[in-house]
Each structure stands twice: as structure tokens, then as C-alpha cells.
Symmetry: C2
Subunit: 421 residues, 2 copies
């Protein structure tokens, strides 16, 4: 289609004055509805947990025993190696970082904050909130390429072996944010066994989408805690997961799993901060979810609501974008995102065009450290929240904006968008 025709089509789209939002990986109200029982649980007579624990009162820093059992398989560790906190695993990630800065982790010679320089490896594209923590605390981010089977391990191994300032790596190992990539067993084996110059190197293993399948395949990945221990690196992984996208995003349970030594370290670090997490909410979740089978059954219902939205995006992208030069997108088998790549220099333009047409997308660059996608290629698509018909309308709009930006580039009239962040 000619630039002129596309412009006309775009003006027609703008005239419709639609208002849609594909920015964040939020569950839709229909998904939250699935857990509404929680709103009346545990019930007025139910406040006693295992070990005669009164969940209403103080105490229980590690979290309720039965809640740790419930999330044990999600975290890939026995209950005694699980720590449950309040409503956000992001807070646990943040806290392990800030505790490392101020006190060092269980293997640190001194606090990270006392080092000349501290850096973390960031597979790219990745999760903006991981990058935000690093940026906020002045931890240098070193990007490494994210492939379909996980980070570029040749590069990772080379970097961590040579540079002791590198103290960790951010990983979303399954249905990764935003590409949907799944780490292969081989990649996990290399992460678990690689030589690191830093003795206190940590893998920040954000397994946010462990049970968040979109297909029948229900992919399982290798257990990083077991593999690291097998290679004598038991303290290397910090594993994080939550029920945020299982029950309620704002009122779930965040969890941490690691070696016994790491668990002792975290509990010692948490002791000055709190007497214990909200145990009533933990009991509420135990009563509602019951066990791993209960979680799996609930996730099937989420899938029934989510899969059609991802299918719509795939269908509309395939129909509209197939064959377009340097345009590609991922087809995730789980998780909350699709990643759309457009020709170099076009991502910001697409986001800007979409915005002017009433479709808000995650800012281009958000998937990269410091918000800087040098090639200006990657756009994160989050289709979970809007209604199905709105997902379709938004995907159609995105297709048009991509085609228009491509045509502009082709014609040499691509408007520069916010050249500097």
C-alpha cells in the first residue's frame, strides 16, 4: 500500500477516536473474578494454622508452613527453603538487592555499596521493573542478547568469568517478559555451572510465569536450585514467584526460595524490618487454592480467557505484517506478553502513531536498560487486560501504525521521535 493510502487509512483510524491500552501486564477483571471467593475467606471462624498458629497475631517471619508447602512446587524448593512475604515478589527482589548493597549477601566480602562498581547482566529485551531497581541504585546494567532459548550464554560466560564487578543476572526463565522465550535445559545448566569471577554472584530467577501456560504444551524447565547445587553453587540462585497473576495482582503472596544458607541470610535481613508477613492472607490462599492441583485448575481458567486474546494478536499480526521487511513478533506459549520487532528506528514512531490514534503502548525502549533501545526496534505488546474485541481493535491499529512507519522509512520521511530519552 502506498504511503499516501496508509496515511489516509491512519487518519480514518484517528477519526474513530478509540481509546485502548496495551501497556501493562495486568489481568482482566474476568480473570480476577475467578478468585472472588478469596474476598470472603478464610471466614469468621477460621484463623488457626498448622502448629496452632493464630494467623491474626504477630509472628511467623518465614510465612505459614502450609502456605510455603502450597507454593513449594511453584518455587521449586521444599517448604523449609521458602520464605513468603506480602503481596509482591518485586519487593523481595528489591529487598535482596538493597540488602546486598547495604550488608552484602551470604557470600560477600563486603557490602556491594562499598565496592567501586557493581553491575548486573540484563538479558535484552527484558523486564523494565528489573532495570528500574538497578538504575535507581546506581547498579550498572550490562545488556546481553536474549535468544529463543535464553540469554546468549557464550557472552554471559565470557563476561562473568572476566569481571568480578558483575554480581548477578536478571532472568525470567519461562515465558519471558517480553518475548515469551523459555530457557532451555542447556542454558540453565550453563547458568548453574559457569565460573564467575565474583564469589557472591547471584541469579535473580524471576519465575513470574511458572504456571501461566497459553497452550496444551505446559512447558516445564530445569530446576535452577537443584542444578546449581549439583555444581557446587547452591547459593547462586535467588528464586522468586508470586500468586499475583494466579489470584489477585494486588493482594497475592510473594515468595522467595533459595539454599538454606540464603534463606537464613534473608530471614536475618528481614528481622529488623518486620515481625512477619500477613498470615491471614496466606491462610486465605491456602483455603482457596488448596494445593498444586488447585493452582493448575485455576490456571486453566485463566488460559481460557487469555489464549484467545493472544490468538487474536497473532492472527491480526500475521494477516497484516507477514512479509514486511524486518518486522517480526514472538508467539509465546505462556506468560503475558508478545514482543514485536519493527525496522530499526521505527519503534518510537509506531508507539507515537498508536498513541495519537488512541492506542497506548508500553513506551519504546522500556524493554531495555535505561529505557534505551539503541536500534529503536522493540515494542512490548500486553494484550491481557482489554476486552477481546478491544484487543482486536488495538492489534489492527498497531498493524496499521507499523505499516505506516515502515512506509515512511521506505520513503525517507520517517519523523524522528524524541531522539534523546
Amino acid at each position: 500500500m502506498s504511503l499516501e493510502l496508509l496515511q489516509k487509512e491512519y487518519e480514518a483510524l484517528r477519526a474513530k477516536a478509540i481509546k485502548l491500552d496495551l501497556t501493562r501486564g495486568k489481568p482482566a477483571p474476568e480473570q480476577l473474578e475467578l478468585s472472588n471467593e478469596l474476598l470472603a475467606l478464610p471466614g469468621t471462624g477460621d484463623f488457626t494454622a498448622e502448629g496452632a498458629t493464630d494467623v491474626r497475631n504477630y509472628g511467623g517471619l518465614q510465612g505459614l508452613a502450609e502456605a510455603r508447602k502450597l507454593l513449594s512446587s511453584l518455587l521449586g524448593a521444599p517448604a523449609e527453603q521458602v520464605v513468603l512475604a506480602n503481596n509482591a515478589s518485586l519487593s523481595l527482589m528489591h529487598d535482596t538487592i538493597i540488602f546486598s548493597l547495604v550488608k552484602g549477601n551470604a557470600d560477600s566480602a563486603k557490602p556491594w555499596g562499598k565496592e567501586e562498581e557493581i553491575s548486573l547482566l540484563c538479558p535484552v529485551p527484558g523486564y523494565d521493573r528489573h532495570f528500574r531497581i538497578c538504575e535507581d541504585y546506581g547498579i550498572e546494567m550490562i545488556p546481553v542478547a536474549m535468544n529463543a532459548d535464553g540469554p546468549d550464554m557464550d557472552e554471559v560466560e565470557r563476561l562473568v568469568a572476566a569481571d568480578a564487578s558483575i554480581r548477578g543476572i536478571w532472568c525470567v526463565p519461562k515465558y519471558s517478559n517480553p518475548t515469551g522465550a523459555v530457557y532451555s535445559d542447556a542454558v540453565i545448566e550453563r547458568l548453574a555451572s559457569m565460573k564467575t569471577a565474583a564469589k557472591d554472584f547471584r541469579i535473580f530467577w524471576d519465575n513470574a510465569y511458572g504456571v501461566h501456560h497459553l497452550t496444551d504444551e505446559k512447558i516445564e524447565i530445569a530446576n535452577i536450585l537443584e542444578r546449581a547445587a549439583a555444581h557446587g553453587n547452591a547459593n547462586r540462585p535467588f528464586v522468586f514467584a508470586s500468586t499475583s497473576k494466579i489470584t489477585f495482582s494486588g493482594a497475592g503472596i510473594g515468595g522467595f526460595a533459595a539454599s538454606k544458607e540464603n534463606v537464613a541470610w534473608l530471614l536475618a535481613r528481614l528481622t529488623p524490618r518486620t515481625i512477619g508477613p500477613d498470615k491471614v492472607n496466606q491462610l486465605r490462599h491456602v483455603r482457596f487454592l488448596k494445593d498444586a492441583a488447585g493452582i493448575a485448575a485455576l490456571m486453566e481458567k485463566h488460559r481460557a480467557l487469555l489464549a484467545p486474546k493472544f490468538a487474536a494478536v497473532e492472527e491480526i499480526f500475521a494477516a497484516g505484517l507477514t512479509g514486511l521487511k524486518d518486522v517480526s513478533w514472538t508467539k509465546p506459549k505462556g506468560g503475558y506478553f508478545t514482543s514485536l520487532d519493527v525496522p530499526a528506528g521505527c519503534a518510537k514512531r509506531v508507539v507515537s502513531l498508536a498513541k495519537d490514534a488512541g492506542v497506548v503502548l508500553t513506551p519504546a525502549g522500556a524493554t531495555h536498560p535505561y529505557g534505551k533501545d539503541e536500534a529503536d526496534r522493540t515494542i512490548r505488546i500486553a494484550p491481557s487486560f482489554p476486552k477481546p474485541e478491544d484487543v482486536r481493535a488495538a492489534a489492527e491499529a498497531v498493524v496499521l501504525c507499523v505499516k505506516l512507519a515502515c512506509a515512511e522509512k521506505e520513503a525517507g520521511v520517517l519523523e524522528p521521535v524524541g531522539a534523546k530519552a
Copy 2:
């Protein structure tokens, strides 16, 4: 009574093999019972808060508007100057300290952690968990005397004017932990107006017992935020409070109030850590407590359960300890503690005797920085948790242990207890 007779009486007590615990300020099960409605709230159809906020989903970093209104009078600030977090105001205190260490507060020239030395004033006796945070992060604690009307302000003013390393003071202004002291208006005025060498000086105003009256008097204190602002020191106070001892100790709401600039600072600091607190629990509390009058009515029920326990301690201490040299105790009009002073060098002995007789008391020294009560005089008594008859039995046992320790001291046979911490 002779030493010998007291020893016999003590052996008779030991023979009874009682098992009682007066260690921590935990509400009794009967008090938690008062809020059992919360266990089934907000109810399966109730998840929409003001502004069409879906409390089940992500977002709302500052906390629900109606929950901030609910706790506004408790915190002494308008709702827009309130930040609500999860279940522990202690976590908010910890976080303001660690954020100050790593980033500095809104008035800091650089992060506290980059200074040669940082210290906080600690009115003594005080709250062990405040001291624990300082100790954990290497913040020097400078003790100042705690009088019946608040800290010794001559000393406080002298210290903060002279020493820029002093960045703050811990205060429990009302029904203080552990003496029950209430800050006078004059003390609050001096705290609000005093000259501090440090520009980023903060008052950590832990108003944990703001509505926790034990008498009809229902003492109100001056508003530190208003007084500080009136003196041009609007950013000086960080105010903390929670519903931990109003509803559920483990599942309440922790809150922070401060100047607009401080609130903006805290929200910016919290942004990398979380997308928002548990809003379902905030809505649950709004539905249950409704308003300040609802809180006051509930606190009357707490008082009906707590006041007799404090009365029993007072009655038994008065009957058994009156006239004993260098023995005194406080008669709190609110809060959770009584502070018992014994002759110098006797506190550890009393705690040790009580323990051997089956009555666990808070370790002697816990009320002092680094756990070191040089005079070995102060014992914190926490009568809230045990049943009334157990409070009586424990108080009787404490009386006997104090009398025995006094007699041992008199006779020059006081056994030294753990001379070094």
C-alpha cells in the same frame, strides 16, 4: 521478710512449675476476636473502591483514598499526606531508614551511608525494635533520658545543635514503650522548633498507641506535623501508625504521614520496590472500621479487656513492692507496657529468677540501645497477652523475684548474671 524466708517462698513458687510469658506486646486472642468480621470481608461482591478502583488489580502506590481518610486522624494529617503500606509500620520505619542510608532523604546533601558517621538520639528506656534497626545498619545510638513528659529536651537541644552527625530521634510520643509516658505540649513544641545542626534531621514519630487508652482520660497530644510546619520545619517529622493493635497484629495496615515533600520522596523511593500495597486489605478495614468513631468504639472494647490486666499488675505491685528501696514502676494511662525499675544491678537477676520460676520476661537491657542497661535497673512488663488470672500469677511471681533480688543485694549475695552481653 528475711532472705531465707524469701528463698523458701521462691522454691515453693518454682515447685508449682507455672509457665507464663510477659515478653511481648501482643494482643490477647479475646482482643483479636473483636475484629473477626474482617476474616470474611470485604465479601465476594465487594472489590470496587473510590475512583472505580478495582482493589484486586495492580496499582495505587499511596494506598486507597478511603483508607487514607480512615487513618487520617490517627496519623494527624490530611489523606493526601498519608501513605499506606502493608501490614507493619515497622517496615515503613525500616524503609525510611534504609532509603536514607542508600539515597538520603528529601533534605540530604548525600546518602547517609556516605557520611563518616550517622547517629540517632534514643530516649531511654525505649523500644527494642527501633534500636535493632540502628544496630543492624551501624547507625550510632545516643541515649537521652526519657522523663514522664518525654525526652530530656535540654539534652536533646544541646546535642542536636552541636552535632551534625545526629540525623534524627526515635519517639513514641503517647503511652510510650515501655514507660507509658506521654509527651507534653511543651516537649513537642521544642522538638518541632529546635535548631538542628543537620539539615536533614528527622523525628521518627512512632505513634503506635494513639488511640490505645486505658483510662477515661483519653489523652490527646499536640500535632507534631502542624507544630513543625509552624516553625518552618515541615519536613522534620516522619509519622508512623498502624492498625496492628486495633484490628489484627499480623494483618493490619501500616501508615506513614509527613509533609507533601516527604510523601513525594517516600513514593519515589517505593516506586522501584512495589506497584502498590494490598488494597483488598485496605478496603476490608474501611468496611469494618468505617471511620474514626468506629475505631474509637472498637478501642473501648480493647480497653475493657486490657485495663483489668494493667489494674491487676498495679494492684499486685503496689501491695508487694511499695516501700522497697529503689523500686518503682509506671502506671500507664494507655499503651501496652509498664516499666519496672529495680535497684541497680538487680534487673538481670530478677529476669533470671523469674525465668527459672517459669515466668518469661523481656530480657533485661532490651529497653536500652545495644541491649545494654548499664545500671541494670529496667524491666519491661507486657501484661496484654496472658489471661487475667495468668497476669495476676505472673505479677505475683515478679513481685517475689524482685523482693528476693533486693534481699540478695542487701545481704551482699546477689548472684551476677551474664555480666557481658
